[in-house]
Amino acid sequence: MAHLDRLSGNEAVAVAMRQIDPDVMGAFPITPSTEIPQYFAQYVADGLVHTELVTVESEHSSMSVCMGAAAAGGRAISATSSAGLALMYELLYVAASSRLPIVLAVSTRALSGPININNDHSDAMGARDAGWIQIYAENNQEVYDNYVQAFPIAETPEVRLPVMICQDGFITSHAVENIELLEDEEVKGFVGEYNPEHYLLNSREPLAVGPYDVTHYYMEHKKQEAEAMKNAKAAILEQARRFEALTGRKYGFFEEYRMEDAEEAIVVIGSTAGTAKATVDMLRAEGRKVGLVKVRVFRPFPGEELARALKHCRAVAVMDKSEGFSACGGPLFAETRSALYDLESRPKLINIVYGLGGRDVSTKDIAAVYDRLHHLAQTGQVGEVYTHMGVREEV
């Protein structure tokens, strides 16, 4: 039986970790994810888990520990943010290409520089092409639910890819909310026992991991990895289906909020969706046909599904909480615009970069975006496609 508890997003993740009881955690502190290894260390100290806690000297080593442990045949976890994720960068690719189903909790934060500890998505977005599945959360309940689903997705034989479970640093990682927790046994039942097919500690059959892969084989292996990422779509939906059967909570690649007859829509990731939903409700009360798509799964990117969800809109604003410095828009915009290209008739599209380094976003800001979309839909004039929101010009 599920029960309610008041938890920060970080603690919610830590609780899910405890319930899963993984084999190894590589732990290194970095704001705002630090609480996760702290809570977990207490579980270890109290004997609540079987996990070996490896308190390493850097995030580079925490990901290395996870790779060693996952190759050895165990479930391996870590948590990080910002520069910590950046320090893992090389190894993220190695973990994915070695097909190691590691789960990494990311409390997202601006990636230096200048140094800033507050939220945006530049850290996780910087790692978007590393071969990891990326699942983002709007609130504490979602990050908990996503975490519980992570291992079964990662360990699906057709997938075998690592997963990042992302939440907005401070905004959800530190805010305390009422959430519904599953019982420990329910979580254990959901994730199941992990019995990998091949692993280093198998005394009946040795295994070699991480070869020097020459030109003759490398491309075949990368193609397999690409296929695995495509396969992840079915695995994500399958685990969402199982999770709904257990909890009644429904998940997909993205959430459509009041999109049935929406003419103007925002596409957004993470906690800002909550603010945007409140704005949608306000504007709907005024009779405006506005809606919202909150992207939950960014890797694999659900391009076709997203195009279907947006095809009836007249104008769409894609909101990026990270800069890509491509000089033509952020990463979510690039993916969304590409996804819409195959439609016979497409909505007008703009990109708004917002909330960098913790810059606050209010319902007023979101309402202004819908106003802009409305003007765009009325006049057909797109104007400047790629803009930044909430920037003080005098700085």
Binding site: D23, V24, G26, H50, T51, E52, V54, T55, V56, E57, S58, H60, S61, S64, V65, C66, M67, G68, A69, A70, A71, A72, G73, G74, A76, E90, L91, V94, A95, S98, L200, L201, N202, S203, P206, L207, A208, V209, G210, P211, Y212, D213, V214, Y217
Partner: protein, 309 residues
């Protein structure tokens, strides 16, 4: 039972031929000898840093290792091994693994003295039950003989070349074994392969079978980087210890012990003369280099004798 070289060689190989290491390379000899120190009933997981050894012994789809083996990157072999070892502890606790596994990491001096130094220090400090073996060939050989912090002073390296103003590496070699000893680990040793491999074998055995983090530094010459005739490999390792340039010693629970003392200490130039990387040291006008190299060896040797007393 007393060490018998022939008996040891009768054991099934755990590092087999067919790899792509150069003729006259010390790395393969080091690995084969270390792996021989495993008891027949025990299994091992080998971790390897990126380097010559990795690209030569696990080129897809072939491997020279009969044991499980993992390579992830250049700078993190010790951390990767600590993850494997931690997982072993967890799976043993859950009853999922019954056999005895030993954890052995191999890294070159680049992956050990330099880029993997932090990872190594962390793993040793945390106390994992593992052995880190450095096959020290005194430069970044895999990328083409660039200087490392292990390269000895005066040696010619492609990023410390011999030129008109500067001739070879300007700095002394980092004393990594002493730094590992300073971590307070239960066993650290320095060795190389000479004669019947007894010293290397016994140290490898102690390192593998001493509980906790252990470190083995094995001088493993490189014919390309050091520029010697491949057949001279055993002569060079013998001279390295007989000149006292590379003393063979071990430190058990903080107690220093010399395991080999040459009957007659040979001059360092005997060692240097056989290697092209020191050729410039023998040019007229560079006598000071040989004198300085000798002085350095003498000082380090005296310091070591003091510690071993």
């Amino acid at each position: 039972m007393a060490y018998q070289f022939k008996k040891e060689l009768e054991k099934p190989e755990r590092f087999v031929g067919g790899h792509r290491l150069c003729a006259g390379c010390g790395a393969g000899i080091t690995c084969r000898a270390v792996m021989r120190a495993l008891e027949p009933e025990d299994k091992a997981v080998v971790t390897n840093a990126t380097g010559c050894l990795e690209v030569s012994t696990f080129m897809y789809p072939y491997t020279s290792w009969t044991e499980s083996y993992v390579h992830t990157a250049f700078e993190n072999a010790a951390a990767t091994c600590s993850g494997v070892e931690a997982c072993y502890e967890a799976l043993k606790r859950r009853g999922k693994v019954q056999d005895n596994f030993k954890f052995i990491t191999f890294g070159g001096d680049g992956g050990t003295y330099d880029i993997g130094f932090q990872s190594l220090s962390g793993a040793m400090e945390r106390g994992h039950d593992m052995v880190y073996v450095c096959y020290d060939n005194e430069a970044y050989m895999n990328t083409g003989i660039q200087r490392s912090s292990s390269t000895p002073r005066f040696a010619n390296a492609t990023t410390a070349p011999v030129g008109r103003e500067k001739q070879g590496k300007q700095q002394d070699k980092k004393d990594l074994t002493a730094i590992m000893v300073a971590h307070g680990i239960p066993y650290a040793a320095q060795t190389t392969f000479i004669g019947n491999f007894r010293d290397l074998h016994e140290k490898a055995k102690k390192a593998i079978y001493t509980h906790g983090p252990c470190f083995l530094n094995v001088l493993s010459p490189c014919p390309r980087g050091w520029q010697y005739e491949t057949a001279l490999l055993p002569t060079i390792t013998q001279l390295a210890v007989d000149t006292c340039l590379w003393p063979m010693y071990e430190v058990e629970e903080g107690v220093w012990h010399l395991t080999y003392e040459p009957k007659k200490k040979k001059p360092i130039e005997d060692y240097m003369r056989l290697q092209g990387r020191f050729k410039h040291c023998f040019k007229p006008g560079n006598e000071w280099m040989l004198e300085s190299a000798q002085q350095y060896v003498d000082e380090k040797w005296e310091q070591l004798l003091e510690k071993c007393r």
